[in-house]
């Protein structure tokens, strides 16, 4: 297995293939800044929860680094992400819409994101990936364990490459992405 490209995002740092991007914002504002300066033209971004925003911009930077984006349907690329906090930030956000019986309006848009794997689906929709998608919750960002889990995904002979790695978010200002594009 070989890692071709890697993207790291924390609330105050963005690194693509070892090179830091020069951005000024911090926290969730940083994600919006990445969107505006490097992506754009995908207004659905603003509807996403923080985990999805993080996964979306990280995967965009990763795929821009790969280059030659054509958005043609493909099934040879899997999206398999890992974290510790599942959908905690979205859970809290949705819970606030059902907490008060006097002001009880469960939000469908907020509920949807209480599923951590929505982010793998969003990446697949954006890039028309019809291959495997999965989301796995583990104790900590253990790259050895992650690679072990990804290596077994290549058992599926259709799968030639994987967008994989760590994608965690506890609230709007605390998150970490360390994702990579890997080939068999």
């Amino acid at each position: 297995m070989m890692i071709l490209h890697r993207v790291y995002i924390s609330p105050d740092k963005v690194i693509v293939n070892g090179k830091a991007l020069e951005l000024t914002e911090k926290g969730s504002a940083l994600l919006t800044q990445i969107y505006r300066s490097h992506i754009g033209n995908y207004p659905k971004f603003f509807k996403m929860d923080t985990l999805c925003k993080l996964g979306f911009v990280a995967s965009e930077l990763l795929l821009n680094a790969e280059g030659n984006r054509n958005f043609e349907p493909r099934e040879d690329r899997a999206v398999i992400l890992f974290n510790r906090s599942a959908s905690l930030q979205a859970d809290t956000n949705y819970q606030s819409t059902i907490q008060d019986s006097e002001n009880f309006f469960p939000s469908p848009a907020a509920f949807v994101y209480t599923l951590p794997n929505i982010v793998t689906g969003e990446i697949a929709i954006r890039n028309k990936y019809f291959g495997e998608t999965s989301f796995i919750v583990i104790e900590e960002n253990d790259e050895k364990l992650i690679e072990q889990n990804l290596s077994v995904a290549f058992q599926d002979t259709d799968t030639k490459s994987i967008i994989g790695g760590w994608l965690d978010c506890t609230d709007e200002e605390n998150f970490e992405a360390n994702i990579f594009l890997m080939e068999k």
Binding site: I125, S134, I136
Partner: protein, 399 residues
């Protein structure tokens, strides 16, 4: 065709029974476990649900857990199912450090979190429950009750979680990373997702009617099921009885919408196709399909289209068992896989309860009790996020 993966033990808990024996009797007797809400405290009494017919205290009592212990309903149901699976596969506590545990869940410890959420903010009275909120913690708690496993992993891909736990475990065995992996899922009903599904306007106030013209949504259910997956080498060495074979599986993305399924069932079609390809089984050899069949207008059209595309004019008998159990969300993939194994072993087609009228553009499900010798069964589980998975379960035949 690759080396077979054997299933040497199963355990299942749902609205239609606390073990395989009870589940089999209820499936064959055609009694639904869906009814009025009893155990969950909510004002939403208008929605029928498939609850496991035990309180948390009764579950703790059965498991020999003290009433002061911190538990969640998801973990308790998981323990009941895991206990049955371990016993059937003749796995003793000394063996656990060599065995992996992969469990699918999405709601995790939300049942306790939502009860004590205000307390978290206002005082420390129930702060110990914060630590059990995580999905990962529910799997750990379930596993710990029996001992120390080699590893514990949580799969969280919405309603296909348990099916994907099964797929991950099977791939690990195929790679030689493990000889035995216990896989499945557990999920209890919570107000959290009852209100969420209600906000998506996909809950029916009447018993659900998958593949029926009048279908109008799903009923939520709860439960847990685990399967013991084992390599041929290990099963032979232990001389343990083989219950069934996991001969194929597929995981594909619908890549269409966060919650809605594509009109042509692209993801479902690809997942079923891949499961058959891995196994080297032809479409004409499939004897039964246990459909995802939630009873929502959208799912049942999409899944029907996928079946029509794959099987043409020869669609095998198919049914949804969700009218028996309700939609057990993250656990549905493993609960229904166990039902399929029971069908293989006992030679019958589970009935699609509550069916009366053919839908447009859809399949006609099995609606009369039928005895049939079965060899290969496809079992579908689809999740939000377009995460579609299908398992091919086959009868074990001594060579």
């Amino acid at each position: 065709m690759t080396a077979p993966i054997y299933i040497t033990g199963c355990g299942v808990v749902s609205a239609i029974g606390l073990n395989q024996k009870e589940s089999l009797e209820t499936l064959m007797g055609e009694h639904s476990g869906v009814g009025q809400l009893t155990y969950l405290k909510t004002e939403h009494k208008e929605f029928p649900v498939g609850e496991v017919k035990l309180s948390d205290a009764e579950m703790r009592n059965r498991l020999g857990i003290s009433d002061n212990a911190i538990t969640t309903r998801t973990a308790l149901m998981g323990m009941l199912a895991l206990d049955e699976a371990l016993k059937q596969a003749e796995i003793t506590p000394e063996m656990l450090p060599e065995i992996g545990f992969i469990s699918g869940t999405t709601v995790g410890g939300m049942d306790m979190s939502e009860q004590f959420y205000l307390d978290y903010i206002n005082n420390d009275a129930h702060k110990e429950y914060i630590s059990v909120h995580d999905c990962g913690n529910c799997s750990e708690m379930t596993a710990k009750h029996f001992g120390d496993f080699a590893f514990v992993t949580t799969l969280s891909t919405a309603c296909s979680s348990a099916a994907n736990a099964i797929i991950l475990g099977a791939n690990m065995i195929r790679c030689g990373e493990a000889e035995i992996v216990i896989v499945g899922g557990s999920e209890c009903i919570t107000k959290f997702h009852l209100n969420g599904f209600n906000s998506l306007m996909i809950l029916d106030t009447k018993p659900c009617r998958p593949f029926d013209a009048t279908r109008n949504g799903l009923n939520l259910g709860e439960g847990a099921a685990y399967l013991v997956l084992e390599s041929e080498k290990s099963a032979k060495k232990r001389n343990v009885k083989i219950q069934a074979v996991l001969s194929g599986y597929g995981n594909a993305c619908d890549a269409f919408h966060q919650t809605a399924s594509s009109p042509d069932g692209e993801g479902a079609y690809r997942a079923m196709k891949e499961a058959l390809e891995i196994a080297g089984v032809k479409t004409t050899e499939v004897d039964y399909i246990n459909a995802h069949g939630t009873g929502t207008p959208n799912n049942d059209v999409s899944e029907s289209q996928a079946m029509m595309r794959l099987f043409g004019n020869n669609i095998p008998p198919a049914s949804s068992t969700k009218p028996f159990t309700g939609h057990t969300t993250s656990a549905s993939g493993s609960i229904e896989a166990v039902f399929c194994i029971l069908a293989l072993q006992n030679g019958f087609l589970p009935v699609n309860l509550n069916y009366s009228q053919a839908m447009d553009d859809g399949i006609i499900p099995v609606h009369q009790s039928t005895k049939k010798d079965l060899k290969h069964i496809l079992c579908n589980a689809f999740g939000f996020g377009g995460n579609d998975s299908s398992l091919l379960l086959s009868k074990f035949e001594q060579k």
